[in-house]
Amino acid sequence: MSDMKFTKDHEWIAVDGDVGTVGISEYAQEQLGDVVFVELPETGKAFSKGEEAAVVESVKAASEVFAPVDGEIVETNGSLEDEPGAVNSDAFGNGWFFKIKIADASQLDGLMDKAAYDAYTAELD
């Protein structure tokens, strides 16, 4: 988890080569409550940083998941369609949303590391 980066909108991205795996943070899933539905992007679709790439819904809330960097979707986590609860039970693991081919790795530098993100969420409470 140490190479995980976070956005202010509570997405995480774990980088492996030029591909980043994206999900929502433990903090975000707690705020949402039981996740009941996840709308995933189409593979091959390109997004700019900050653009809405997926939607996550709980019983009482819907929230956009933004692309943390520019890039193209190379894979999505289809198992969430049957088991959206994985976002709650394993936000940093099986609850991942999509993999994105990173177009500009320098954008990662603008994101928070774990310690900075923890400090950020502590202030939100």
């Binding site: 539905f37 709308e39 819904e57 709980s58 019983v59 009482k60 809330a61 819907a62």
Partner: protein, 447 residues
């Protein structure tokens, strides 16, 4: 005043508890120059007897359908409603409850809505239905907008057989949403080839069955053509009783059904409130507008119902919602459900057969009048008649003879000489042979 329980003593004591000298102090945030210090210029309060007299006097100026031979349809139909329906919907627990936001104390409404959704899905032959819309016309507009969301296309083709009000409501909404509407001209003779109007920008084709002129069609070929072009088929039904005799839209390939449910349980009521029905294929569920009741269990494991999938809706999604709809037609939907429960399969199909028989009988009698021609070859309980003179004038003359003869097509499609002599005539189970004979002989007298 009979609806206000607080006494002057209560008011004085409550003001004292608040620490206000008078009621004006509670309105202190209102700019002083706009706060009225006198009642507005309208009559003062009145007792039940006085109000009843005034309202009854207005009602008495109308010719009620039950008092004369009556043959109007065109989207609102006169059917007999069992006494049980009105008795049950007036139970306080149904009549005076809010939208079921607290499911633990709203199971009555929620169970009724779940039954309603099931009935609508069964009647239309679709997978799922919502908990109702305002009326058929608004449901039609919502269906067109939904088809655009589903297909991510922007062009909507409207059949010329679509009820003109449904067309106008859809056009109005589409214009503000930036959608393109291709509305085909009305044509009572049929022969419209909707498949020719499909292209790769077409989100859906909207077709009514039975159509505005009463014509009944088999739609499977059209459905196939729509699907081959990547478009959806939206089927509108304005007379829900027809589905007791006519094939369900879902069985003919419809993707969305938008219908008017007034015929079951609800009076014509001068046009409202009625109840919109909305049913879709399951794969489009998350793009559907409106409320949904869903089954679940409580903490003791007992079956119950809740409003569900509400993240589609405005109170959560705000401007990204599938629709701005909030209130639906809950009590009208309940009336629909109770009426249909009373009918059951046997009663509903027999009711439809009686309607069809009444229309066929009346058409036979009208066709025997010189210079009168029945336009449709296939119809349910409503058909179009070509008269030798202006249908509006004939209807007017027959109204003077205490017969409500039908709807002149020109009432809904003005300034079109081609429809000037067309009269829409409906015959339901409420039309007696003697009513038909009175109509036919009076018609012969005014032609």
């Amino acid at each position: 005043m009979r609806y206000l329980p607080l006494t002057d003593t209560d008011r004085a004591e409550m003001l004292a508890a608040i620490g206000a000298g008078d009621i004006k102090e509670l309105y202190k945030d209102v700019p002083a120059d706009v706060l009225l210090d006198q009642p507005v210029d309208l009559p003062f309060h009145a007792g039940e007897l006085e109000v009843e007299r005034q309202m009854a006097a207005l009602a008495a100026e109308n010719v009620s359908a039950g008092s004369v031979p009556f043959f109007l349809g065109a989207g609102a139909y006169r059917h007999h409603t069992p006494a049980t329906v009105d008795h049950l919907i007036q139970r306080s627990e149904f009549l005076t409850s809010y939208t079921p936001y607290q499911p633990e104390i709203s199971q009555g409404t929620l169970q009724a809505l779940f039954e309603f959704q099931t009935q609508v899905a069964l009647l239309t032959g679709m997978d799922v239905a919502n908990a109702s819309m305002y009326d058929g016309a608004t449901a039609c507009a919502e269906a067109a907008m939904m088809a655009c969301r589903v297909t991510r296309r922007n062009r909507v083709v409207l059949s010329g057989g679509l009820h003109p009000h449904y067309r106008e409501v859809t056009q109005t909404n589409a214009r503000f949403m930036g959608l393109t509407i291709d509305a085909l001209p009305a044509n009572a003779e049929g022969g419209e080839n909707l498949s020719e109007h499909l292209d790769d920008e077409t989100a859906c084709v909207v077709v009514q069955n039975p159509d505005f002129f009463g014509q009944v069609e088999e739609l499977s070929v059209l459905a196939d053509a729509c699907h081959a072009a990547g478009a959806l088929l939206v089927v509108v039904v304005t007379e829900i009783v027809s589905l007791g005799a006519v094939e369900a839209p879902g069985n003919m390939g419809a993707d969305i059904v938008a219908a008017e449910g007034q015929s079951l349980g609800n009076p014509m009521g001068f046009g409202g409130p009625h109840v919109g029905l909305f049913a879709v294929r399951e794969r489009f569920l998350r793009q559907m507008p409106g409320r949904l009741a869903g089954e679940t269990v409580d903490v003791d494991g007992r079956r119950g119902w809740v409003l569900t999938l509400s993240t589609r809706e405005q109170h959560i999604r705000r401007e990204k919602a599938t629709s701005n709809i909030c209130t639906n037609s809950g009590l009208c939907a309940l009336a629909f459900t109770i009426h249909l429960s009373l009918l059951g399969e046997a009663g509903f199909t027999k009711l439809a057969a009686l309607n069809h028989a009444a229309a066929v009988t009346l058409a036979g009698k009208l066709a025997a009048v010189p210079d009168v021609e029945i336009v449709n070859d296939a119809y349910f309980n409503e058909f179009t008649v070509r008269l030798p003179k202006s249908a509006a004038q004939v209807v007017d003359a027959l109204a003077d003879r205490h017969i409500l003869a039908g709807v002149p097509v020109s009432r809904l499609i003005p300034d079109d000489p081609a429809v000037d002599q067309l009269l829409l005539v409906a015959a339901t189970e409420t039309a007696r042979p003697s009513d038909m004979d009175a109509f036919v002989s009076a018609l012969a007298g005014v032609l």
